[in-house]
Each structure stands twice: as structure tokens, then as C-alpha cells.
């Protein structure tokens, strides 16, 4: 059970890191510590922004479709005008 739990945790963590990096670079999500709760709200809000832009279902959750778009090769210019 212990070893089984680890890969799933790692996989989740990798997805979260990918999403954080993506949303910081393209959706102006601030880096750094904002406190647990605020960081999570912010992340959900930025995920919703990204899902709306790509006409995905707006859930605020890191679902497979959202992750699939985040992994696609793309331009490095942010999607939200800075």
C-alpha cells in the first residue's frame, strides 16, 4: 500500500506542478507563497480562466482535457494581456 500510494502522489504532484508553471507563465498567476487557502482559490480561478479561453468545460478542476491542452506545444506569449 505504501509504495502504491507514492506513485499516485507523485503523478498528482507532477500534474499540479505542470499546471502551476503553465498558469504562471500564460495566465499571470503570481508565484510565491500566498498561504494554503488563497493559493488554492487562486489556482482554481486561473484554471477557469484558461478553460474559458480554450472553450473547455469551465470546472476550475484540473481534468484530463485541461491537462491535455496544457501539454500541447504552443507559443510562449501569455494568453492574458499583461
Amino acid at each position: 500500500a505504501h509504495t502504491l500510494a507514492k506513485p499516485i502522489a507523485n503523478e498528482e504532484k507532477d500534474k499540479l506542478l505542470l499546471a502551476e508553471k503553465y498558469l504562471r507563465r500564460y495566465y499571470d498567476m503570481p508565484a510565491g507563497l500566498q498561504g494554503e487557502r488563497k493559493a488554492s482559490d487562486l489556482m482554481h480561478q486561473k484554471i477557469r480562466e484558461m478553460q474559458a479561453f480554450f472553450r473547455l468545460e469551465v470546472t476550475g478542476k484540473l481534468d484530463d482535457n485541461t491537462l491535455e491542452v496544457m501539454e500541447m506545444a504552443r507559443c510562449g506569449v501569455p494568453d492574458v494581456a499583461e
Partner: protein, 367 residues
């Protein structure tokens, strides 16, 4: 389309550019050509004119670099982030950087330098990203042939700089089809591992029972080797492959990968050489037969034997009464054939051999 804040743009329509270094992936001449063609995409529809400099400072400085390359905006290695450009302005404004960790090509293999450059120069001229998947300024890379600007892109750049005084109307890339257009018809429809794939123009919709909204994507975003136009498609669930027909060629997909040895000619299935296009195709799981619809007739192909059944072609109108004599697309679900012709969908019972319901084609897209 979108612009940058304050509609940043070049005050002078004569813009200079300079290529500071070259990628080893392509011949120097190929890079020069890709860059020049990428600028031409924008000059064709605006008064903008681009002059190449070989020394000193140009408005748009073009370079290839990897990871941290001098602007504190590092690249990320192969795939992912391909390139970036800065909006019009002094200094770094307009400068365009390509990630040298990518492989730059001049064909459909990833990543086509001309297409990425045309997109990035859009930024260097004042265009931000568009959420229209059919526009060049869409953030995600996709390969396509022909003139890359959509109506959306052209409207966006012309609202900054006006039209091209010397050039007639350019034929833009067609926009993405809208799913609830009452006149919507389909090019092809197939199952793919439990999902339904509906092809229309250069796009496809992907329907999944757990996905409330169909997802629209460019065909070439998922399958770069496929043509922009699909005539017919069907899944052979036994072999876990989807066959895609376009003109006299056919491709076999295993999930998202192209099966070795394809494309092949459709005549390999046993169709006469007079057949130049298949309108619709469907595999009847219960019988193992695949029906191929061409104009007013259809053939039956035995998947197990790999041969055409004798006694074909037969008349569509005679064998499937009530659906008319031509078909655009067809699907099979639990004993029913779903025939699509123009904006109509016929639900046809295979066992009782009659039409049970008539609906709009796009009712399948929750419209």
C-alpha cells in the same frame, strides 16, 4: 482576435527586421525563405512593408536560443514552449525568439518554422492570442497548408493598420464550423474507443459520454499526417483501428498513431477504379461487414476475409428505404444505423429495415 493593451502597434508601416543567427536544423536559405514568407502573410493584407537589415538595430530582431537566452524569459527544452515575441515598441519591442531546443522544419513534421514565425510576427505587430482554434493567432501549434490567416486574424490586423492598398481581397482560411448552425452537415463520423468523432472541414468534434460539451479541434492538431478534408471514416473494433478516407486514399489510425504502411489506395479494398471518393463508411459489428457508400450505391466489405462481398454494388434507396439515395456520413449503435445527409439525421433500424426517427444532424452535438 485580441490586441495588446493600448493597442500597441508600429507607428510607421515600414518595419525593419534582422536575423541575428540561424538554426542548424535548416539550410540558411530555408530560414531566410520561411521568415520572408511569414512576413508576407501579414503584408498581403495590410500596408505594412518589411525591410531586411544585415547590421545595426532593426525593429524586429530575430534569433534562435535555448533555455535562458538573455531576456529573463527562458525556454523550456524540446516541445512545450516553441517561441515568443514582444509587442511593438523600442528596444526589445517586436523582437522574436525561437527555441533552439525544438526541431525546426519546412514541412508537416513538427515544428514548421514558417507557421511558428507567422504566428510570432503577429505578436511583433500587435496581435495577442485568439481563442478561435482556426486562427493563426491561436496559442497551440497546429500544422496546415495554404494561406494561414483566418478571417479573425485578418480583421484583427486590419483594425490596427488598415487594408493593403495594393492588394485585392485575400481568401482567408475558413473559420471553424459552429456546432448549432441549423444547416450544419457532417463530412464523416466514426467511433474511436468509445468516443464519437465527427469530422467537418478542417476540424473534428470529439464526443464522450462523460463530456457534456463536444470538444472541437483541428484535425491536424491531433493527426498531422491526415489531410484537411475527411470524406468517410469507420472503426474496426476487432482490430482497434479507425480507417479514414479522403479522395482515393485511406489511412489507418491506432488511437492517435498512424499505422505503418498507410496511406493506401481505396481500390485495395476491391472497389473499381471508377470510384474516386467514398461518401460514408460504417462497420456493422454484429455481422463483421463494413458498408461503403458511394453516390447512390454501396458495397459490403468482409473484414475477416478481407474481400468485397459478391453481388455489390447495390442501390442505397432500395436497401435502406426512407433515407433517400445519398449519404454524407453513417454510424452504427446497438442495432441502429444513423444516416446523415445534409442537415438531417435518419435513425434506421437494421433489423426491421425501416426509418424509426428523423432528426437534425447536429442534435448529436446537444443542439
Amino acid at each position: 482576435y485580441n490586441h495588446f493593451p493600448r493597442d500597441l502597434k508600429w507607428k510607421n508601416t515600414n518595419v525593419t527586421f534582422r536575423i541575428l543567427n540561424y538554426t542548424p536544423d535548416l539550410r540558411k536559405a530555408d530560414v531566410d525563405k520561411a521568415v520572408r514568407n511569414a512576413f508576407n502573410v501579414w503584408s498581403r493584407v495590410t500596408p505594412l512593408r518589411f525591410k531586411k537589415l544585415y547590421e545595426g538595430n532593426a525593429d524586429i530582431m530575430i534569433s534562435f536560443g535555448a533555455k535562458e537566452h538573455g531576456d529573463f524569459n527562458p525556454f523550456d527544452g524540446p516541445e512545450g514552449l516553441l517561441a515568443h515575441a514582444y509587442p511593438p515598441g523600442n528596444g526589445i519591442g517586436g523582437d522574436t525568439h525561437f527555441d533552439e531546443d525544438e526541431t525546426w522544419t519546412k514541412d508537416f513534421h513538427t515544428f514548421n518554422l514558417f507557421l511558428v514565425a507567422a504566428h510570432e510576427f503577429g505578436h511583433a505587430l500587435g496581435m495577442a492570442h485568439s481563442s478561435d482554434p482556426g486562427s493563426l493567432m491561436y496559442p497551440v501549434y497546429s500544422y496546415g497548408k495554404g494561406y494561414p490567416l483566418s478571417e479573425d486574424d485578418i480583421k484583427g490586423i486590419q483594425s490596427l493598420y488598415g487594408e493593403n492598398p495594393d492588394h485585392g481581397r485575400v481568401k482567408p482560411k475558413p473559420d471553424a464550423p459552429t456546432k448549432c448552425d441549423p444547416e450544419l452537415s457532417f463530412d464523416a463520423i466514426t467511433e474511436l474507443r468509445g468516443e464519437t468523432i465527427i469530422f467537418k472541414d478542417r476540424f473534428y468534434w470529439r464526443l464522450h459520454p462523460q463530456m457534456p460539451e463536444p470538444e472541437q479541434t483541428l484535425i491536424k492538431s491531433t493527426w498531422p499526417e491526415l489531410p484537411n478534408q475527411v470524406d468517410a471514416a469507420y472503426e474496426n473494433p476487432e482490430k482497434d483501428i479507425v480507417i479514414i478516407f479522403s479522395g482515393i486514399q485511406m489511412w489507418a489510425l491506432n488511437g492517435y498513431n498512424l499505422v505503418e504502411g498507410y496511406p493506401k489506395y481505396i481500390h485495395k479494398l476491391g472497389l473499381p477504379k471508377t470510384v474516386r471518393k467514398i461518401d460514408a463508411a460504417v462497420n456493422i459489428r454484429d455481422t463483421g461487414k463494413t458498408l461503403l457508400f458511394v453516390d447512390e450505391e454501396y458495397w459490403s466489405y468482409d473484414e475477416e476475409k478481407g474481400t468485397m462481398d459478391s453481388g455489390y454494388p447495390r442501390s442505397i434507396e432500395n436497401d435502406f428505404p426512407g433515407i433517400g439515395d445519398e449519404v454524407d456520413a453513417v454510424a452504427y449503435h446497438y442495432g441502429y444505423l444513423y444516416f446523415y445527409h445534409e442537415h438531417i439525421q435518419f435513425e434506421y433500424s437494421y433489423s426491421s429495415r425501416k426509418v424509426m426517427r428523423i432528426m437534425r444532424a447536429n442534435s448529436i452535438l446537444n443542439c
